[in-house]
Symmetry: C2
DNA sequence: AGTAGAACCGAGCTTTTGCTCGGATTATGG
DNA sequence: CCATAATCCGAGCAAAAGCTCGGTTCTACT
């Protein structure tokens, strides 16, 4: 009888309260992230992390009950960083024509991911329990909410409303496209070209259009 | 000095020539696939695979020089199966209106992936060296070629031609959407609804449209 | 029937892994 | 300044990993 797939606790055992401890804690996460991006998930052993962080292995287990919890926390931090970047540059976008605003936003999303290319690559492609990390689920929900909110924004501009399914698909597809463009950049297209084209695609889907042949 | 990320050989050591050997070979691959889909990549140990296949561990190493090669071969087979399915159902699609043909094609792509949902999930999300497997690169290229070929087909129908970047993006986005819909099906939408909407999206991008406000 | 080579095998080696133990060291606050 | 709690530590254990060794068994072919 093969044992089922069960996950250990993903939450940290405790958070550091003293200053020295906070530095240790961060050193561990930092070291972990570095190993992830430089050598991949398989090379991320707890001993290795502790070594690189310059702390004893037991100190690592002071804070993290197991390896999975450590990884989950690293992922959470990277994601937090990423979203913060995104939120920051979103605020800066003030150009009025929606077409240009969209392109600018896509550009900053692209930039945000590029900045962490190495870690993101490993996280997305190698962490086995990625989608069991609460922070990931949360980010997903947030992004969908954002997408849905832009729908009403579009409606106020006068473009026809989009079905919920369409918003869902558009959001996932856009996310996937940006990720793909960063992780496996096609040799024959520059990032700028891709961003611009992506904006054009979204525009064609959401914008006003000629009456199509009635379907069905 | 941390050792760099280097991959061992991914090709099988040798192929079976006798009948008995062919059965062994297949039993190994079969067992590997089952473990993958039922317990995930981390549970796929060479000993475990040999056990489940009912062969000695040394027999496994007769054919595969190392664990990675075994995994690569499993992936190759799954992919082959999938593409075969897809090609088969592609041929069957004969309905003339491009809109319905598109929807039918997306449907069969969806079905093909669903049929192997469990393995595909693990392969896509957990195999660390997935994109170093030649067969994967090949499949990618093939699909892009297919997408590019439909462009000319579209042109013959009279719709405006698509830029190369647009075809690339459309292809990746479509693939990602289908994969996403299968791996993490949203509770609020049925597969049929998603397929239909996806077809509609592609249609809006590729179809004829009203003159938009000039960009830039 | 006999032999060469293909196929099979499992005990067990080497290495590495995640993690604990028992205790030393450092900070806090009364 | 002292006691209590927080923090740090590394040797090393138990388990499991990938893979080899030396050999037996089976198949094909003359």
């Amino acid at each position: 009888m093969p044992k089922k797939r069960a996950l250990p606790t993903l939450a940290p055992r405790k958070l550091p309260t003293q200053d020295r401890a906070r530095r240790t804690y961060h050193a561990i996460l930092e070291a972990g992230a570095r190993i992830l991006e430089r050598q991949g998930y398989e090379a991320l052993t707890t001993n290795h992390v502790a070594d690189l962080a310059g702390v004893g292995i037991a100190s690592l287990y002071e804070y993290f009950p197991n390896k999975h919890a450590l990884v989950a926390e690293i992922v959470r931090h990277v994601l937090e960083d990423l979203l913060a970047d995104l939120a920051r540059s979103t605020q800066l976008i003030t150009t009025s024509p929606p077409q240009e605003a969209l392109e600018a936003w896509l550009g900053s999303m692209y930039a945000a991911v590029v900045k962490r290319r190495a870690v993101v690559t490993v996280i997305v492609q190698e962490v086995p329990f990625l989608w069991d990390i609460p922070a990931v689920e949360n980010a997903r929900t947030m992004l969908f909410a954002l997408a849905r909110s832009t729908r009403e924004l579009g409606a106020s501009v006068g473009t026809p409303p989009l079905s919920d399914a369409m918003v869902y698909l558009l959001a996932t597809m856009t996310g996937a496209a940006v990720l793909e463009a960063v992780l496996r950049p096609p040799a024959e297209h520059t990032p700028e070209e891709l961003i611009e084209t992506l904006a054009e695609i979204i525009n064609r889907v959401t914008g006003e259009r000629a009456p199509t042949r009635r379907r069905r």
